[in-house]
Amino acid sequence: MSFFRRRELYVAITFITGLLTIFDYFISFDALNNTAAALRNWVVLIAYFAIVLGLVNTFVFHGRRVFRKGQQWVYSAWLLFVVVSITLIGIFSGTNHPIYSFLFTNVYGALGPSGYGIMAFFIASAAFRALRARSFEALILLTAVVFTLLYRAPVGGIMPFIPQIGDWIQSVPSAGGMRGIIIGMAIGAIGMGLRTLLGYERGYLPE
């Protein structure tokens, strides 16, 4: 097996850098803090360089599909055309060029809010699925939702007991349940951190 594909190498790098970063959080010691700061800078740089991997992956996958005239190859061709066009405009005309700015603001910029826009319909659909009272637990959930909806709606403010009940649901059972999940999750993350440092968490490691 190649030296660079050895599992021990990955585990050793993870162990050393992981411990350095953890100790940096708890201990104030110049040499340690400076080393950890340098490591964090490396991480930022490596993450930026990794975008090249994304570009290569995109070109290989969609390029292959176009050349083979595979399923929906027209979409792939259009995607590659857009990626190349925007990149060339950005490189040769600068990101302040009117065409680049127009495309970024009116195409890319508009797509994000559009995604959020359709969420309202998905939320309504999810609520409909969740709120069918098919069991006792679902009935409790439905009751809590009705009170919370009334509490949040303008009309709830003038209905008797609704503000008090809605406030209690949000600040006692809902907050308590969420905090329980968060505490369990935090301890789970600590456990996973240790397994990763010691090389027991092997899901991401090569065999």
Binding site: F29, F61, I123, I190, G191, R195, Y200, E201, Y204
Partner: protein, 260 residues
């Protein structure tokens, strides 16, 4: 060399949890295997693969929008452990698993996890690099890509484990609409959990996501570490109860100690 202010007790608690985990790992090494409760969502992965094999479709795996270098790293790594197991099951059944990604830095690791799964199944030649796809760094790019894979590429089962934000609702909604068998869960973002619970056939909540790798591997050492985590939970619960009692009697002693 001194402790950073306000981290002394945190260090002691972290050390306690780690020592408890190491103690249980050593017990597991000694042959005292822990009993872990069943996690139905993880058991259902085999069912998801079986369904895809029966219907001649694919399995969609979504690792979310998290990367490996931020607070979402643990969730992303947990998701990759699931991808490895899922790939192994798919390779054994002779079906494809497609994994769209939003973080370029995850591509090589996800590719390695999928390849390892195929190797473990004894079917390495079935691994296709094309099934690891970078689909832009945007969460909506991921959502629309997954909706496209479900609609156009006949994904009949989907597994979503990783760090998610609002895009997960769009993905699971599209899946539910198409009748896809769905397993989903995220750890850190508690506001997204209701969507998984309401729209998926099986869901993972909170720490179950982080335990996925250990649970699926069935490695006694990994399972031993899960038992060690329970000591941390007992300690936390004890501190909460003690703090509550002291607060009733007007004392903030524990609050002040924990802030050291």
């Amino acid at each position: 060399m001194i402790f950073v202010e306000g981290t002394i007790i945190a260090t002691i608690i972290l050390a306690f949890i780690w020592l408890a985990m190491i103690y249980n790992i050593e017990r597991a090494k000694g042959g005292k295997l822990p009993r872990i409760r069943a996690i139905p969502a993880l058991n259902a992965i085999d069912e998801a693969v079986g369904r895809a094999a029966e219907m001649g479709g694919r399995v969609l795996f979504v690792n979310g929008i998290g990367d490996l270098t931020s607070v979402s790293g643990p969730e992303t790594v947990a998701g990759l452990a699931v991808l490895r197991y899922l790939s192994k099951c798919c390779a054994e059944s002779g079906i494809e698993v497609v994994a769209p990604l939003t973080q370029a830095q995850v591509i090589p690791v996800a590719s390695e996890a999928m390849r390892t799964g195929f190797i473990e199944a004894g079917n390495p030649e079935a691994f296709q690099e094309d099934n690891i796809r970078y689909v832009s760094s945007s969460q909506w790019g991921l959502a629309t890509s997954c909706m496209g894979i479900i609609g156009r590429e006949k994904a009949v089962s989907s597994v979503l484990v990783g760090a998610f934000a609002g895009e997960c609702l769009a993905i699971v909604s599209a899946g539910a609409e198409a009748g896809v068998f769905q397993i989903g869960g995220c750890g850190r973002n508690t506001t997204q959990m209701p969507w998984f619970v309401s729209m998926c056939d099986f869901s993972l909540i909170g720490e179950e996501v982080y335990a996925a790798g250990a649970y699926l591997s069935r490695d006694p050492l990994e399972l031993g570490s899960l038992v060690g985590q329970d000591y941390g939970k007992i300690l936390t619960a004890g501190l909460i109860i003690l703090g509550y009692i002291l607060y009733i009697f007007g004392s903030k002693a524990l609050y002040n100690i924990l802030g050291m």
